[in-house]
Amino acid sequence: MDRRLPPRGGEWIDRSRPVEFRFEGAAYRGFEGDVVTSALWANDVRLMGRSFKYHRPRGLYSLAGHDANVMLEDGLRTNLRGDLTAIAPGLDLHAVNTVGGVDKDWLQVMGRFSRFLPVGFYYKAFHTPRLLFPFYEKQMRKAAGLGRIDSAAVSDPSPKDYAFGDLLVVGAGPAGLSGAIAAAEHGLKVMLVDEQPRPGGSLAWQGAEHPDVSHTLNGLLERVDQLDNIELRCGTQAAGWYADHWVALADDCRLTKLRAKATLVAAGCFEQPAVFQNNDLPGVMLGSAAQRLMHLYAVKPFDRAVVLAANSDGYRVALDLHAAGVVVAAIADLRQDGEPTAVAQQAADAGIAVHRGYAVYEAVPTRGNKRVRGAVICPLDRDGNPRTDSVQQVDCDGIVVSVGWAPNGGLISQAGGRFAYSERIGQLRPQQLPEGIMAAGRVNGVFDLHDQINDGRRAGLAAAARLGQYEGDVPDIPGHRGAPPSHPYPILPHEGKKNFVDFDEDLHLTDFINAHQEGYDNIELMKRFTTVGMGPSQGKLSNINAIRILARLNGASINETGTTTSRPFHQPVPLRLLAGRRFHPQRRTPIDRWHAEAGAQMVHAGAWLRPEYYQVDGRSRDACILAEAVNVRTGVGLIDVSTLGKIQISGPDAALFLERIYTGRFTKQPVGRLRYGLACDETGVIIEDGVIARLGDDRFYVTATSGGAAAFYREMQRWALIWGTDITLINATSQLAAVNLAGPGSRDVLRELTDIDLSPEAFPYLGVRGGFVGGAAATVMRVGFVGELGYEIHVPASQSRHVWTTLMQAGRDRGIRAFGVEAQRLLRLEKGHLIVGQDTDALTNPYEADVAWAIGKDKPFFVGARSLEIVRKQPLNRRLVGLTFAAASTGPLPEECHLIIADGDIAGRVTSIAKQTTLGYPVAMAFVRPDLAEAGQVVQIRVDGGALAEAQVAGLPFYDPENIRQQTPSHR
């Protein structure tokens, strides 16, 4: 049966564009502009989903995505809201969380067990005997959860957008539109968003047939159109409000991050359910939903309807239904005095039976519970309780509920605003608004259309005034006149216990009463125990009723009862939008291309990619690494160390600053010399090391570890600010590149390419010189990290590739080879140099790491000094030592971080190991208990599988202990 009405003005569907789609295996037709729920209803489909716990039939309820009755999957996506998903050709949908389809759903037997499953039942059972819990848990997990993921799904990266403006207006209904206009007319740049695909808010469906209303709407929209400084975005939800008007705007394909100066929330209200028996049955819907169906989608909701009303909106819906050809069999008005305005008479004139002081007590289902067959109505006594002795049944196929509203004020709460209950309107309204937050229209408790427009204007002016663009008066918020639009307690007890308060969680009235009985008698505890408001619709339709119930149970007012906190997001946001492009910058040095061509195997080092080693055909990884290392020991090698942090420090306080940052002394460091720098945190733990070059009296150049550079530079900036030292810090890490030319042949290679005098007298070990290398301006440092004669050459990044290839060419005759980080790690280990973060941990101090020599004597202060002064006087807990392993041993060797075991206890840990070395035997560094630290002692290390490997403690360094090779000139 086709329920589509004849064309009407203002409808959102395009009848010239039919759309075929599938639901639960059957084909349906709708029009472009339809959402899934409207199109299905137009095809007379009422059963569209199943509830979470009892698998009760569910259908269209709010038609605005305020409920989560209709959750769908299309094979790729899941938990799609039927109300918010446009139909599209080829869409093939199924309801989530059913077994055997939405119609048959075998899990509906759960409903039979509802008496066994009171609120919080899962806390009360299944845990004994303990062994059975995993079984029960598995069943419960299977039953819980809604959609299934598709493990093969892929999503395209989505863009992210930034927007800026003076005022964000949320909601393009009458209040939002007029607010945006007022603000824009005073020069504010306005972003106006609405989650619906078209603007108009309630004007599009409430009273939409009235010429005045459409005239008003068109007027507002024309004005918005004229104003260039309003950007209107429909189909866009303001998903969350964050500090300083930083707002997440989400549409179908992107996340826009907006920075505004003020926010006007004109997001309207959520119409609220009444609680009565079977109030979740397909065919029971909100008045606003029936109006949306008729006016936006031109669908006739029912043939015969009963309206449960507690405000004039209910009467208007009844009249709308009547006009659309629906027989309105009755209006049951919860209020003893009925409706005071003229719509009451209009209803009577239309021949509609109005029952004052009546409730719909029960929705009567057809067999199988899938449709409404009638409504049981009954009078209420003076206290509002149903008089079940005089019930009567009215035949109908639909029940419409118009009993009240709740503000859509999540953004206001997120901004720190508070709500208070107003008896006049029977609902919560904003009480204290934080700076720069405005509210207008229905969310602000303003219900009359003209009042809403005025209230919007008021708020727009208030925004303009706040931003200094308007100096006139800002009018007051229009007061509410007439009866409250919301009923104070639209909740009817019923023994059948199918009177639902929270549809998402299948919670009925008794669940709340029982939770209260068990002591969950404040709103937060009640929420947590019952899980009210924790489902996919986040309590949009259940929070206020839960508060009303609790208030009554406690004999307290709504304000005494309080509310729970609203958190982002308004409607759930897909991870895809939050992730955006998933930008993962990779850092490569300027010499990267050369490495690739030379067969480098790259390794991630933080964000950097570095050559681990260079693959030589037919050789294993280990053999390649060892060969690179041997070549440095015997000839000459070149490594790209551009990833080192490179920090320039200048200014009158430069030396003083370094003395505070590092443990060593720098004020007396001669120009042209290098010193080792060791840095600790306030607790005396080693955090960084590097080389400090003095280039001039007030000028230093500092290197930092590749991994730690960014954090250390930040730390330097922080301290510089705290101390107020007169220095300039420049992070030149990417501006400059660096290579280390190392090995006995390095001087000969370099000599041909530089104007710097490399003679040992002119350029000794730990010297730094400026000059040209291969034509590029360079800073050259004589360092010995790998334990050979070596020069670290720093040049502008743009020239580094040239310098590199020039060095490689110059060294060709001497057998120069590039070496990677692995060979460097091996060489430095042989030389006994520690790597911060590998040979130290989150507690290592300089004494136990055997680098206390780097602590300057008699310094007044450095970061960590006070702690180290205490640590120094205490006995050491452990010491960093060398370990050697027998060359010939065939037994297992430890991995890094295997434990040293003595007397059955943990007595240390291997921090670095090299299994193949240029020394001919494996070596390691390790922390050991002080009593095991004497050279020559034998220690046992527990390796994989539990066996013990044996090693001998040795002094460091293993290689060239006299430090001759890096200091004295090599022999020609």
């Binding site: 806390y123 892929v154 997440a248 607790t683 205490q874």
Partner: protein, 414 residues
């Protein structure tokens, strides 16, 4: 259908009484006052009564029970820490947790899922190996596993993490890693303490503490003064307010920690997965939501506001790890306060103020400690002497530089 549910079907009225009373007024004097009705304060009250017969005890909370970190955390329970002191302590908690639903007769949904700490670099693989070795030495199930094992257990994972970052090279795997229903832990202890005589006073804020001659003499609250000789501060993220009242200096700093949940999904993720490189961890609750979080917000701040950057960062990391989740939607985000110690270990036990005990330094890791902390701190308060298991966590360690470094095991995987 378990027999325990049958009574609900048979009874005409709801056959349950209050889980905890709501005493109308504070008494003039208690043998001990516990500040903070989170899991820790309530567990302390329970064990004081249960183990030590101390029942004239009040637990006071400025809000409602379980409303602090207890109700905001992501409920990960594990013992694969790095230091022997830490491992022993948390293992004690795991063992209590395993039998806690029975002991307190409330189903806490203690669910052993298995816990992966992914390694994306040789450095993190080293740390995982270190933890595994210490764990195994102390009898804890904990092992470094390779990428194939991870993929077999969590097939949805992309070991290449999208191809732009270091791939997953292994993980620390801890089979007993578990999650539980955090609120229920608080309620179960509340009921246990209440039934044994302790009083729980919600909506009661401590505003000051009286010290006479270096000893606790009483507690000021917004509902009046209480005389007592023993006070336990179990307020986690609010600890600095309380220590100020007694003039104690601690190295605690407060940082926010955030979390978010997706919409409920049918079960697919059976493990707890942590990646420090991607700054995230995730598990699937028994309700089907993905519960996920990151490391601390990097600044000191006493605020429970969410940030958008956090949600964006987690979106990125989750899709790097599980590319199939693009259309899965985030439902809700929130934040809590964490009282951070410099060494990522707790701060517990006796203090220089006689009668004032600390149950603090819970940072991002305190939920899992609830049972063992309750038990050991109850011992400490009853005997005025630090329990063996918590000696290493005393405030004095900061003066003596005897820190218990857990940063490597607690910075992202809480």
């Amino acid at each position: 259908m378990p027999y325990r549910l049958i009574k609900f079907a048979l009874s005409k009225t709801h056959p349950e009484r209050r889980m905890f009373r709501a005493p109308a007024k504070l008494k003039d004097e208690y043998d001990a006052v516990i500040i903070g009705g989170g899991g820790h304060g309530l567990a302390a009250a329970y064990y004081l009564a249960h183990d030590h017969g101390m029942t004239n005890v009040a637990v006071v909370d400025k809000g409602y029970i379980g409303g602090g970190g207890t109700g905001r955390n992501t409920a990960i329970i594990r013992s694969n820490y790095l230091t022997p002191e830490g491992v022993r302590f948390y293992q004690g908690s795991v063992e209590l947790f395993q039998d806690l639903s029975r002991e307190l007769d409330l189903n806490l949904f203690y669910s052993e899922r298995g816990h992966f700490t992914l390694a994306h670099s040789p450095a993190s693989l080293r740390t995982q190996r270190w933890r595994a070795e210490v764990n195994k030495h102390l009898g804890i199930e904990s092992e470094v596993v390779g990428p194939e094992f991870i993929k077999r257990t969590v097939p949805e994972i992309d070991l290449q993490v999208g191809g732009k970052q270091a791939p997953i090279s292994g993980a620390l795997y801890h089979p007993p890693g578990a999650i539980a229903r955090h609120d229920a832990v608080a309620w179960a202890y509340a009921r246990g303490a209440d039934r044994r005589g302790a009083e729980i006073h919600q909506q009661t804020a401590v505003t000051g503490i009286d010290i006479r001659d270096g000893e606790v003499a009483g507690v000021h609250t917004d509902k009046g003064f209480i005389k007592t000789k023993k006070v336990l501060s179990a307020v986690a993220g609010w600890t600095t307010h309380i220590t100020r009242m007694v003039g104690l200096r601690t190295p605690l700093v407060i940082h926010p920690l955030q979390a978010l949940v997706t919409e409920p999904l049918k079960p697919w993720l059976n493990s707890i997965v942590v990646s420090a490189s991607l700054h995230l961890y995730v598990s699937q609750s028994s309700r089907g939501e993905l519960v996920t979080g990151a490391s601390l917000d990097p600044y000191e701040l006493i605020s429970m506001r969410s940030t958008l950057g956090f949600a964006e960062g987690l979106g990125t990391g989750l899709l790097d790890l599980f590319p199939c989740l693009g259309d899965i939607k985030v439902m809700r985000q929130w934040a809590g306060l964490c009282d951070m110690t410099p060494d990522f270990s707790p701060l517990m036990g006796t203090t220089p103020v006689k009668g004032f005990y600390l149950d603090a330094g819970w940072g991002t890791w305190g939920f899992k400690a609830t049972p063992i902390c309750g038990k050991t701190i109850a011992f400490t308060l009853a005997r005025d002497q630090d329990h063996e298991l918590i000696k290493a966590f005393n405030l004095s360690r900061f003066e003596q530089f005897e820190l218990v470094g857990e940063k490597g095991a607690a910075s992202v995987g809480h």
